[in-house]
Amino acid sequence: QDKDLKVGAIYMDAQGFYAGVRKGIQTGASDAGRKLDVVETNAQGDASKESSFIDTLISSGVQAIIVSPVSADGSSRAIRRAHDAGIPVVCYNTCLNDADMKEYISAYAVGDPYDFGHKLGDAAADYFIAEKNEAPKIAVLNCEFVEVCITRRKGFEEALKAKVAGAKIVANQEGATLDKAVSVAATMLTSNPDIDAFFGEAGGATLGAARAVKSQGKTGKIVVFGGDMTTEIAQELADFTVIKAVVDISGQGLGKLALAQAIKSIDGQPPEGIKVAYDIDLYKSSEDGKAWLKAHADGIP
């Protein structure tokens, strides 16, 4: 079957991760031997824009919508309208609350954000145990204007405290874009000179923390744990002086998975339990970093 496919794709905001998703959707289509027409938009983290985009996609006659909803509750009405119009909606990365999800969503390609944080927290705990640090002080650079980031932190905190009871989060500031993260991290180092580690909730935060640690001359004293692989984060990890562990949900992988689910839903075979788990990858050694760089020569995560 090589019928043309027309799907709508909505990216949540302007982050490199979604470039991966885009590539994943494209390669997913060619893997499935279909000619793909993607109508794509970027919601810029705004539920009202997302809502209007979904309406536009409905009118444009797409066969399915692949979306990373901005908000578990705030996005449900728009998605309901798509559902009511008979268009299967596939979530990836983020989704609606459970009740709405069961009703309106055909499939949810997910690397669970709680697990995401949890895996990293676990890795961080192992690091502190190895360092014999029983009461590590941690500063967070967050992206908590989107809900997933809050969940990521919860996962991180709980996993860490489960193993290292004395761990403490001493500061939590926003720093989602790289430039802001560098500046905020540098300032946090001033107010909390005795912190042991940064936790970067997303790519910009992770790399920003690493840059700040280096430029403030704290290499070797302060380490960084963070989310989201990019070329530069992988290089830092390969270097292994500052970044000690990175968790990542491959954008490409998730995109591919989401498209596969969308095709299935169009064909009337949505997955049973809606949720389709996608592996969250943990990279915690220099070799892991090098391997990632090799596998992603084009830099798209």
Partner: protein, 334 residues
Amino acid sequence: MSLDQTAKSASTQRSRSRFTFSRHMNELSLFVAIAVLYVVFTSTANGFLSFNNQINILRDAATIGIAAWAATLIIIAGEIDVSVGPMVAFISVVLAFFLQWGIPTPLAFALAIIVGALLGSIPGALRAYFDVPSFVGTLGLWSALRGTALFVTDALPVSIGRNDTLDALDRSFLNIPPAAIVMLVFFVVFTFVSRKTAFGRSVFAIGGNAHAALLSGINVSKIRVALFAIAGAMAAISGILLVSRLGSGNATAATGLEFDVIAAVVVGGTSLSGGRGSMLGTLLGVLVITLIGNGLVLLGINPFFQQVVRGLIIVIAVLANIQAIKRSMSRNKG
């Protein structure tokens, strides 16, 4: 310079029995722009002309339009309001809380509008009585409202549960979304006010020559405060419609709306230096902005690239408009 003079007479004042071409050049050139956009998108974008999509365009236009009517008056008065987006988001959050607290829906609506008007009147009063430029006052409000909304909600949506009134507001009425009706009703009201009432004409007078307005006994300060209060109330109405559409109050919603609103007003031919402008122009400006947004999505253009196209089209629209007015003026001279 020369434009200032030429455009002055070209600006649309009130409709007059003698329809002069040059006076309405602005609107005419916008009509042409819209016609061109329609032709282009119809022939290239699948489903653009479908009834459903036209309704979508109307609904999207409402988001910008409702705020843009008040913004037009503010800009005509020589002021500016950059707080629209956060105001809409903030009110959506406030309304959601009101409803969570069990305040009856109509009362909650009224309270939300009052809150909007009161908040809006803060930069208004700062401008009118303390000479704080409205750009500064509304910039402060912009930051404070977005911050407060995010702070109290932790950036999470504030759910309102089932609410029949709000649901009705989201359901089309005779196939037309209520938001669009609200927009059009207010368009008529604002057009009337701006052309036919003392308040509306005072706004033009203040923008054209505030000193003269003051000397001729117009209560400049009161009108300035009122303008910003009205803008706040209109943003609140937009916020209410937002809640009905999203089913929750969202602190992160309506980001950058202020840019769209100002762009629509300016594309519509209202001068940022005050004193001239028209509601009809703004309506057409709102349509241009909305059509571009809608068409580009339908065409499936890379979302980042859409931003590029939007930027170019806004500039080209204003440029073409200005040139059209100029040319018609010089032709009309003899």
